[in-house]
């Protein structure tokens, strides 16, 4: 039985290549200084989706929300086997926190319906919140399974997956449609397939075509662009207006070693250490 899968991907700054100018004066990320990449765990989500499609048939739709340049992530998805892609881009969506983002994505996934499975990476390497997946499932009113490392079986409208947690493996069944958040314990993502690269390297959004002075792309080569109106989102719940999270202060912390003190390997010594760590809010 074929299954329609929606994969959510995010374009993120490659935080592994952080250099001195990675942060701006005001403490926000200097995106220009870091190469933009496919969020690593989203790539695992895409791989999981493509493998499900290869096993059971169906389709893979990849969605991303971001600026016009995020279309690059969608081309990457096409190279690896996505059947359909769409870019959700709208200035009014800027500064969305996880609540607003998951709301916008829930509208986009509903717009992309029908779907049986929604796959996301567990978390993005820029925000590291791991909140969007679970919030999205809640808004779509579908069950969620987090920390997925493998799909064992899908029979009818029941999916059985393996979860990889800090405490071991867990096998979980869920009725479809369901949302999975996928970790890097899942099968290693594939590399782009050359024939698809040769074909889809010319796929672009109308905005990209316009910027390059090319005619608007057609058919397979069109990367659809959806704004908040297309997906029927309530503007009040998007962007700054829809985001209760307020950033109070951002600090640039440079960790430097400054001496050490020895802790005796005794009950008292360890208690002292724990107390100290609680005191300076390192733990607790």
């Amino acid at each position: 039985m074929p299954y329609d899968i929606v994969v959510l991907a995010k374009q993120v700054p490659d935080t592994k290549r952080v250099t001195g100018d990675a942060m701006k004066e005001d403490g926000t990320v200097n995106r220009a200084a870091l190469p933009a990449i496919f969020n690593p765990e989203d790539l695992y989500a895409l791989e999981l989706a493509i493998e499900v499609k290869e096993r059971f048939g169906g389709s893979v739709t990849c969605l991303t929300m971001g600026p016009v340049s995020a279309a690059e992530v969608l081309r990457e998805a096409l190279y690896r086997g996505a059947d359909r892609v769409a870019l959700i881009t709208d200035r009014r969506a800027a500064a969305s926190d996880t609540l607003a983002t998951s709301y916008i994505l829930s509208c986009a996934v509903t717009h992309a319906a029908p779907y049986d499975i929604v796959c996301c990476g567990r978390q993005a390497i820029d925000g590291d919140t791991a909140q969007v997946g679970p919030q999205l499932a809640q808004k779509l009113s579908i069950p969620q399974v987090t920390y997925v490392s493998d799909v064992e079986e899908i029979a009818g409208s029941l999916i059985r997956v393996r979860r990889h947690t800090d405490y071991g493996m867990q096998v979980v069944e869920a009725p479809l449609p369901a949302l999975l958040t996928v970790t890097d314990k899942a099968p290693e993502p594939r590399y782009p397939a050359m024939k698809r690269v040769m074909k889809y390297k010319k796929a672009m959004s109308p905005a990209e075509a316009e910027a390059r002075g090319l005619p608007s792309p057609m058919g397979d080569m069109l990367i659809e662009t959806w704004d908040l109106d297309t997906i029927g989102a309530d503007i009040e719940r998007c962007g700054m207006a829809g985001s209760p999270t307020k950033v109070k202060r951002i600090q640039s912390i440079v960790l430097t070693g400054s001496g050490y003190h020895e802790v005796q390997p005794t009950q008292e010594g360890i208690e002292g250490l724990v107390h100290e760590l609680i005191e300076d809010h390192t733990i607790g």
Binding site: R190, Y191, K195, R196, V197, M198, K199, D220
Partner: protein, 578 residues
């Protein structure tokens, strides 16, 4: 996420330098296939972008998947169980990744599932794979088997096997060598007799067969028992079957990830490729040329890996209060290694490019439809490229394979005691490199082939072509190359006068001078686009001229002692043990 293409400045330079666009124009015949295949390029820029992206994908897989597995593959090798070879799981995964990325039909036409990419780009891909794991190239680099089927087999065989080879479902093997037929393939003795239904039955033993456990075997066999030479041999396609047993898996010095098999054929069914009697003289020779350029690329990949390791070590290792790269002896060695490495890459690129042009022109001529002066001109051009390919192929294989061994050995030297230990990969690079000057024709045989190009004037013709009006600061250097050419011309006429034994005795010196001239011209041409190449040319060419004079003194010495006094000089062989 590493990338063995985009992290390699010289490789990217060479890719641009050798004109991938011209090859694309030749290969794509007016870009007509764009209408038929959605992944076919529309124009030159489109095709070149495809080539670059293909190398980027190979580079990514090589860095992220193949290289990290190479050490385990080397230590574990493959297993032979009940006449069947079980690939190492790392190799299985590597091949799966490459197939998933559509890279197993690199050069094949699109109608058979291939990417229709020129050999030139494929050579660079082979280099990239070999830098990660030289032994994997022995399977990835066997795509020439599919090309041979494409060039010479019937449509039926092509349709049956090529799409499955291109998708990576099947792997292949060239099954040529026998216990008594190594370099001398004319002595192949595996018997082929015609069965009633048009198929053939093959019986005998083959030895040292790379990937002999593959699914599609191209087997050289004697179809004409009355004819003892090369004309009695035909080429067959055999699928893997119970009548072909892997008798033995060789235990080798290096390339442990490449299964080397001894095969036993017991009336194994095979299909004739092309015509009888042309197995060795036409088909195998065509296959071998591609395979030789492949080994050249493999060699460059190993040298690249070894050089990088040595370079990094010399930069960080401190002795006597300084990093060892600060010691002139070590610095000199590193610069020499780098020069040899880049020269080998350049020669391999040039040989691959020439081979592409030769093959494409030949295809155009065979297709027909061209007449008159155009046809004459095309034919003339094709002949010229064929002769040039016959010179450049052995030159690149000989030079690259020899420098792979020397660069890997020098890398061990730079790492010192650590280099000799298995904790570092350089000892593996040396073990892997050591086969390169042996298989697909030994260095000695490559020299025999290359020296013909030197004595016949093909080499000089090519030098002349490259000798443009260089401007300052290259004028002086180009004069030195001309001096080398006159030196070589003097040597050639001296050797020719003394006869063929004399020429064979000094063939290596003659070929070495010619190769240095070639490298010199490559450097001069490339110096126009690169400061580094200019610096290399300035260091290399004057040294090469002095070296040429030393070699020339030997060649024109008239000394034939090795032939005349062989027994006296080499002594008698130690008596065989009973």
């Amino acid at each position: 996420m590493g990338n063995f293409f985009t992290d390699n400045e010289d490789l990217m330079f060479q890719f641009d330098f050798w004109g991938p666009g011209e090859l694309a124009d030749l290969k794509e015949h007016g870009y007509a296939e764009a209408a038929e295949y959605d992944f076919a390029p529309e124009d030159t820029a489109d095709a070149v972008e495809n080539y670059r992206k293909a190398l980027e994908v190979v580079g990514g897989i090589a860095a992220d998947f193949i290289a990290p597995r190479a050490e385990a593959v080397d230590r574990e090798g493959h297993q032979l169980q009940a006449g069947r070879v079980c690939y190492n799981p790392g190799v299985v995964d590597n091949l799966r990744r490459l197939a998933q990325a559509d890279l197993m039909g690199f050069t094949l036409p699109r109608r058979f599932g291939g990417l229709n990419i020129p050999t030139f780009v494929y050579s660079l891909a082979n280099e990239i794979v070999s830098r990660a794991d030289a032994s994997l190239m022995n399977i990835f680099g066997l795509q020439g088997i599919a090309e041979t089927i494409n060039a010479f087999a019937s449509d039926e065989l092509k349709n049956e096997y090529l799409p499955r080879l291109a998708s990576g479902e099947l792997t292949g093997a060239m099954v040529l060598t026998e216990p008594d037929a190594g370099s001398d393939l004319q002595r192949v003795n595996l018997k082929a007799r015609e069965a009633e239904n048009g198929t053939w039955l093959l019986s005998g033993v083959k030895r040292f067969i790379t990937n002999g456990c593959g699914d599609v075997l191209l087997v050289l066999a004697r179809s004409e028992p009355e004819e003892s030479g090369g004309l009695g041999l035909s080429l067959y396609l055999c699928e893997r079957q119970d009548a072909i047993q892997v008798r033995h898996l060789e235990d080798k010095l290096g390339i442990h990830g490449s299964p080397t098999c001894e095969l036993e054929f017991h009336d194994a069914a095979g299909y004739l490729i092309g015509e009888r009697r042309r197995g060795l003289v036409t088909y195998t020779m065509a296959l071998m040329n591609g395979a030789r350029v492949g080994i050249a690329a493999q060699s460059v990949g190993i040298a690249e890996a070894a050089f990088r390791e040595a370079r990094a070590y010399a930069h960080t290792r401190t002795q006597f209060g300084r990093t060892i790269e600060e010691f002139p002896a070590v610095a000199d060695l590193l610069v020499d290694m780098k020069t040899r490495l880049e020269a080998a890459r350049s020669l391999t690129c040039d040989a691959s490019r020439i081979m592409d042009i030769d093959i494409i022109l030949q295809e155009q001529l065979e297709k027909g439809g061209i007449e008159g002066d155009v046809a004459r001109e095309l034919k003339q051009k094709q002949r010229r490229y064929k002769r040039l390919a016959a010179f450049m192929t052995p030159v690149s294989k000989y030079y690259a394979s020899e420098i792979a061994v020397s660069v890997a050995s020098d890398a061990i030297q730079i790492l010192g005691g650590s280099g000799y230990m298995k904790d570092y990969p350089v000892e593996r690079y040396w073990r892997d490199a050591r086969i390169a000057p042996i298989y697909e024709g030994t260095s000695q045989l490559q020299i025999v082939a290359a020296v013909r190009g030197v004595t016949s004037g093909v080499a000089e013709g090519y030098f002349k072509e490259m000798d443009m009006d260089f401007e300052r600061p290259l004028v002086g250097l180009s004069k030195k190359l001309r001096a080398m050419r006159s030196e070589l011309a003097r040597c050639v006429s001296f050797a020719k006068e003394r006869g063929s034994d004399y020429t064979d005795l000094y063939a290596r010196d003659l070929v070495d001078i010619a190769i240095d001239i070639l490298i010199g011209y490559h450097l001069l041409l490339q110096a126009q686009h690169s400061r580094k190449k200019l610096a290399m040319a300035r260091r290399f060419i004057p040294r090469a001229l002095r070296e040429a004079r030393r070699r020339s003194a030997n060649i024109t010495s008239g000394d034939m002692a090795v032939i005349k006094d062989f027994l006296l000089l080499a002594g008698a062989p130690s008596s065989q043990e009973a």
